[in-house]
Symmetry: D2
Subunit: 337 residues, 4 copies
């Protein structure tokens, strides 16, 4: 932490800041410039906090210099984390594609999608049983019935299941059925839910909040890691910007940045990121080229009849074609699908 | 809902869209232009949804034209809602100021603030017992102990209490202690929590999400109203923009807009909106000039020692001075504090 | 400037950074923490720059700590600048309202507006002769003919004129006619134009760029000040955010912040900030409550027939009513209209 | 254009709107719903404008439905435009990489970069002689001297030149030297400059404005096309969002979207988009995977000594390595570098 004093700060004010720094557990280090004095506070910012220094007389500003996360940081753990789910790994050489409908609607729908995404090479099935919807009048998901259908599909088609939990009360149920527990974008800072999934050992797919900085996203992961669950998969799914043509603005630069700052694997959801099926395949290719460890792609047997997010869903046929292209991009960056 | 067809859409494609519209419960209405055909879908969009029309062949885009909320809309209820809490009203001629610390820290702290904000004219005390914090290493609040201190302070100083609920499991407890239940910005789309508070009759203060449009905010209110709780108070508290000097960008234009679109009262939290105490008083004045029904202002006896958000807290003295100015602005717009 | 070294930086790397700092004209100051070494570079960042230090081996990040502007800063000039234009002042006790149509359309239009805004108390007439339009097919302004009409109106109604310059080639002409030269939001970083108006002595109204931070805005002012023109008036006119209900997001917090960081006067344009006439009066009141030194308000005798921006223009009648309310708010904050 | 009437609009108000629509040159088409009447205005919105209809009594809102650009639209021209510059083409099968320093600094610097980027396979050299800088105290470019050095380098190394024009007055000079004239992000809506380059036949590289929507960007291209210059290359270079870790947020989804909406070629500048050299290679690969027709990449022989933007420049060695990977990605999407 660096404290920049006002250009008119008095000696007494400087001394008071030093005293406060030291009483908070930091060591103080002064640099006297021609115009201003700067004070370094040396110690663990993550634990010691800012000690209210910004409000002391004569202080102009306080600049944090350490990342506020520890467990999620590559400084803490240099090698990348590889997460094992069933017989697949996330974060290794193989790019994992999690495909399926936005919402679980029926056994027929789920079986049809499962069969086709499996045939195209996907190993993980996505599908929501609990759906966060902007409107209370929209379809809210099949709840436990949806989870059962997912389990049935898993058994029949040999796919792993990723599905969203929205509520601490249904977490035990979701955790029972899911292979990977998804925390959605609207719950990225639902700290009670983060803590609760942190007490499980099942992998957690943590979506980036709609307006979360990369740092805030890693802090949300820190909540989970801090409870003991080390299996966190980060998922970029578009941030909110001023552009209205797309549903969100897919921030692919988050992929190499997260891999630089953190040891956790990162996957990309181009379906939510763009919101229009037409642009999902090129952005899926771009995600892999940028270094993503996996993808979430919405696939529906008949998008125009989907109860949720049809506009961003691929047909199984388009998905199959995309998988072929993905394999070529993966190869170009030294990986495989 | 208006459907714009591609400039090359065939007659068969147009007919298929009309058929789909009608089977979804809408009436269809065609307008054939020189370049394109436009189809109006007449009916209740809120309930009928978009019926997957965007994905039908020949469709260029689908434009919704009705607001997706009903119960929150001024179309539904022309006169403004006035909410009664204890012996005060929110939404009437009197501007209610909710003042107090970010977090409840101790009895001494709370009593001191309560005495002073009461003396300055505030009727409602704010203070968090459960605190949403970006870092798992920050102070998380006193929990039930904090609620008890709030209740003790209420009894002693005759103030009403507004305090935040973060979790469905602690809602019964919070609802027992609070006069107004606060839903924080990170939980604006925690739909399970919204539904649960909707089953209480106690007033709910619903903060705008960090990147929520006004429409999404009103949709969140709709979740609460739809469960039966009509006592929703909206609270603008700053949105996320590219500007980094302020903690958030306080969107005061939301005040007259919400009052135009909705019958619900709206208050402003300049403390979180700006994040620096120095700029809180002018923005509090501006909020009232813009038509706000109330304010949330953070006040701490010693901001430099605060366990949370000291940088944006006013001292009791500065708060008292601000109240005097607020009274003058209120009078200039035909209201009182 | 503070240089944070990587946690694994070697002694040789630290020494190389110190050497570079010193050869760039700074003094270096080391603070060795347990985990990292931090190096302060003491000197004038504005002039010395960053010297490429971020790219030296072992450097984690470089944090600037001084504001990059000097002439615009309150550190440089503690008392607020009051600008005199004809017989009015901007930045003093009186709030100046600049009212008139978006675009000059005809003598009749201009005379009617001028008469009415004068009667309501405005002393400065706004009106564009050169119009920046998103579409090449929209009305682009009357050019010199428009300037002549403005001059005629000035003579007849005793109002001062503020009008926009878009091009260095027409600047001499605009400067001949205008009392205040306006630089529009799209030209805030048209550095050649900034330099050219900096060589005049006429006041310049510098609008904030659509996505300019407050710091970048003050840097644009610095370009003008640095050429010798000290008469810069800053104008907040809305920034771009994700909210689509309003044309822009009016950032009123910029008002007290600019007055804190800089000695320059600041005015607000609620018409462009909101884009819908209905919400202009409350936001004009809020701007004055927040401390603005003046306002730009679009007024048109018949907004529905306006060639430009009718949707955000007030009728003369509504403008008159707003001026009465503004006087009350001004009085409440110790000023007058 | 669709006009949505208020739910309480009277018959007389509806008739007045119809009359206004017709007098503006549109045909009107009514759809009467249960709650509201909707009126379609059929005709060319680009030319007829909105006719002030939003302000007529009884009108709730006006929704444009046609794209406001024509010449830039794929509706107008279905096949993609391929631009020929010297012996290279932009928009065809070959991905063109434009590489070089941010600013031209000296002959030695330019010759060294030119030799190395040529050897790595680039055919176009980038380099600024006129530099837009946020601070008036930063290096502003070598001006005509810089153009001469670019010309000398072209002759010696057989590379084409792309360089920025910032001012209408220096345009003739820049156009004399450049093979491709660059319009920078800050000038995307400098309409006078757009019109002037529109009168040349040389290709124009038009960077997206920092907060420009894709539609506004295409409208800026429309200004150029409308003057007769059909050789417009669009360049995505990052937009402004709330994320502060990167200089800008590179919006790669703009690539497939622009190619869908427009026939113009689109290239990507990952150097400005990210601002940190480390993340430039993965984002360059991602851009090509997303369908970009080319890249702008900053390369400097010694980034730590660069007078401008060293932090985002690749060394020639890293650039060479990136070119090899780009060739593999290009092949995977059926193209070549």
């Amino acid at each position: 932490m660096v404290i920049v004093m006002h250009h008119k700060a008095s000696e007494a004010e400087i001394e008071a800041v030093v005293k406060r720094i030291e009483s908070a557990g930091y060591r103080a280090h002064l640099s006297r410039g021609v115009e201003r004095t700067i004070i370094g506070a040396i110690g663990d910012e993550t634990l010691l906090g800012d000690a209210g220094i910004e409000l002391l007389p004569g202080v102009d500003k306080v600049i944090p210099i350490m990342a506020p996360y520890k467990l999620a940081s590559r400084v803490m753990k240099a090698e990348g984390t590889v997460i094992t789910v069933g017989d697949v790994t996330i974060g290794g050489d193989t790019i994992q594609v999690m495909a399926g409908p936005c919402a679980v609607e029926s056994k027929e729908q789920l079986f049809e999608v499962a069969e086709k995404v499996r045939a195209a090479g996907a190993r993980i099935l996505r599908g929501g049983a609990y759906k966060p919807r902007t409107s209370p009048y929209s379809f809210q998901g099949l709840a436990e019935k949806g989870l059962q259908l997912l389990a049935e599909t898993r058994e029949r088609y040999g796919l792993l299941i990723v599905t969203e939990v929205m509520d601490v009360r249904t977490l035990p149920l979701v955790a029972e059925y899911a292979d990977i527990i998804q925390i959605g974008t609207r719950n990225m800072q639902n700290f009670y839910l983060l803590r609760e999934v942190g007490r499980y050992s099942k992998p957690v797919l943590l979506k980036r909040g709609l307006s979360a900085t990369i740092e805030e996203w890693l802090m949300a992961a820190e909540y989970i890691l801090n409870e003991g669950n080390q299996n966190v998969i980060l998922c970029e799914r578009g941030i909110r910007s001023f552009e209205t043509f797309t549903r969100n603005t897919l921030d692919l630069s988050a992929v190499p940045i997260v891999k630089y700052l953190s040891h956790l694997p990162v996957v990309v959801d181009p379906s939510h990121g763009i919101g229009k099926y037409r642009f999902v395949p090129p952005m899926a290719l771009a995600a892999v080229a940028a270094g993503a460890d996996g993808l979430l792609i919405e696939v529906h047997p008949n998008p125009a009849e989907a109860l949720c997010d049809g506009a961003q869903s691929l047909t199984p046929k388009k998905f199959g074609k995309t998988m072929v292209q993905l394999a070529q991009i993966a190869q170009a960056v030294g990986r495989r699908v």
